[in-house]
Symmetry: C2
Subunit: 323 residues, 2 copies
């Protein structure tokens, strides 16, 4: 048995057992049972060292984040997490690293009732691909294409914190642990996503910044939107920074927020207010959908902001992803 | 829109449309509908440059093989291919490369009625992770754990061809195109796998060599086996090489055969013979399952061969995968 086979044992039984897993890790395929009346929601994402995380990032955080980005995609459809698969590429069979990675992955998987059902561990430059599988009652998933003129636009949590953490780390500055967690250990809004079924008309998770991600909803729905900049939910540090510089690129165009942006018909707005209270999570109305195309970034004085360059100011090697 | 977004367009509609895809590429998740009475079979695999293929390998072949390895896993469960997702990591947004990759991927996907429903394209060292999804009537999937004493052991096709191609390429020797295709463009035995439902008691696909992969069946089934070496199906080149050297490592312990190894209760052996004829594919009885543990490699004179070192003699960087 090779080192890599041994390491595979860390992934043999990760996350809670589920009765719908007929066959888990250890055969050519996993076998899964989908209940009648449920659709399967799937998404795959890769995190690569030096592109999506610093190569010396705590492996526990890499384990967490590699699953969190997929959970955030499930949340954005209103789906309930079920199973994950993991394709892990490692430069060396470092057992300490893998143990920490598995710890971070498992903690988040268990918090969301998700079971790891398959994987592949190979040698190569550090990279993690995770596929998530979720269930959603047929016909109730929340797509990007359902926004209608007059809908309110909401976002959860606060914007730009992860972008600020990254900017400071790239500049070699110290970053408070709580701010760094916003970058390295985002909390996907899984429960919020499910509770917005029947409430939200369209939804997306924020991975590349509000302006760009809301833009995906606008294109898919063939509508436009107005954002009122003074309504954007900002943590104190962000609010001070924006006030001092009039630079909106962090809240509007930086990556890794992993908050949800969703549209809500006026009749459902009270449901959102109740949800915010029930989940103890800020859900802030930041604008509205209109029929005419384009995204209007409106200042408090009525003036307009030019959309900041896509702040996918991730790691240097990825800078071609900027617009 | 970034270069990588543009490149993503090559993957927007790949493979045949399927009515069970409620939502394909382009939202946070794909939405898929599983028919009643079917289980979902999933498997994820990564191919990395320099580990699983030569960095200068024809991208059309990389596209083919990255899907073929997953199709081979579906075949080994007796599952019918349905959907795939693709996590592609590229050092640069090279449109010619991606077009060729997509061509190879699509040709094989279309041949098996498989639709690409989601993906992620990022920058980094060349690596391809593919997850395949298949359907199999509930309770009929063929696992590794069902082999019973007295079952016959069969393999499809011929053994060791890919290993021979790789060995020659690593030595800088010329390789005939047909032999090279066995390494770079394996044909997964998808139809055979499905037609063995109700016939085979256990099955695995051969990715790491017959001795090791049959060993997985033996452990999962808590049985042993005898292989009769003179029955192993070898192409003429392999047969000559083995006869000249008495080195059995290629047919027994080299990677990438992507043939199926399966066990068959005696009553079903005539079905296998009929299947071989119907599919015009050699299905060769190479040994039998016995109650006592271990794998007995029997020579024609009754002597025994020591199991060759695991010939996962892939690319040099992966040499720690040898036993």
């Amino acid at each position: 048995m090779s080192e890599f086979d041994l390491i595979g044992r860390y992934f043999a039984a990760l996350g809670p057992e589920r009765p719908d897993v007929a066959l888990g890790v250890g055969d050519d395929c996993a076998l899964l049972e989908i209940p009648a009346g449920q659709a399967l929601a799937v998404s795959i994402d890769t995190l690569s060292a030096g592109v999506h995380f610093f190569p010396d990032c705590d492996p526990e955080h890499i384990g967490h984040k590699s699953l969190a980005v997929g959970l955030s995609d499930l949340a954005a459809m209103g789906a309930e997490p079920a199973w994950a698969t993991l394709a892990l590429t490692l430069p060396a069979a470092d057992e300490d690293w893998i143990r920490a990675f598995a710890t971070g992955f498992e903690r988040l998987a268990s918090a969301h009732g998700m079971r790891l059902v398959g994987g592949d561990t190979t040698r190569g430059p550090l990279s993690v691909a995770v596929q998530v599988h979720g269930l959603v009652p047929t016909g109730t998933a929340i797509r990007r294409s359902g926004a209608r003129p007059g809908d309110a636009v909401f976002v959860s949590g606060t914007l730009g914190d992860a972008g600020l953490a990254l900017r400071r780390m790239l500049a070699g500055e110290s970053v408070a642990p709580e701010l760094r967690r916003r970058l390295e250990c985002p909390e996907p809004r899984v429960e919020l996503g499910q509770r917005l079924r029947g409430v939200a008309s369209a939804m997306i998770d924020l991975s590349d910044g509000l302006a760009g991600d809301l833009g995906h909803i606008l294109r898919a729905s063939a509508v436009g939107a107005v954002l009122e900049l003074d309504r954007l939910p900002l943590a104190p540090q962000l609010a001070e920074l924006v006030a001092a510089t009039d630079d909106w690129s962090l809240p509007l165009a930086s990556g890794d927020d992993y908050e949800l942006c969703f549209c809500v018909p006026p009749a459902h707005i009270p449901n959102v207010e109740r949800l915010a209270e029930a989940l103890a999570l800020p859900l802030t109305r930041v604008g509205w959908i209109r029929a005419s195309a384009g995204l209007d970034l409106r200042r408090p004085d009525g003036g307009r902001l030019t959309r900041p360059a896509r702040g996918y100011d991730h790691f240097p090697v990825a800078d071609d992803r900027a617009d």
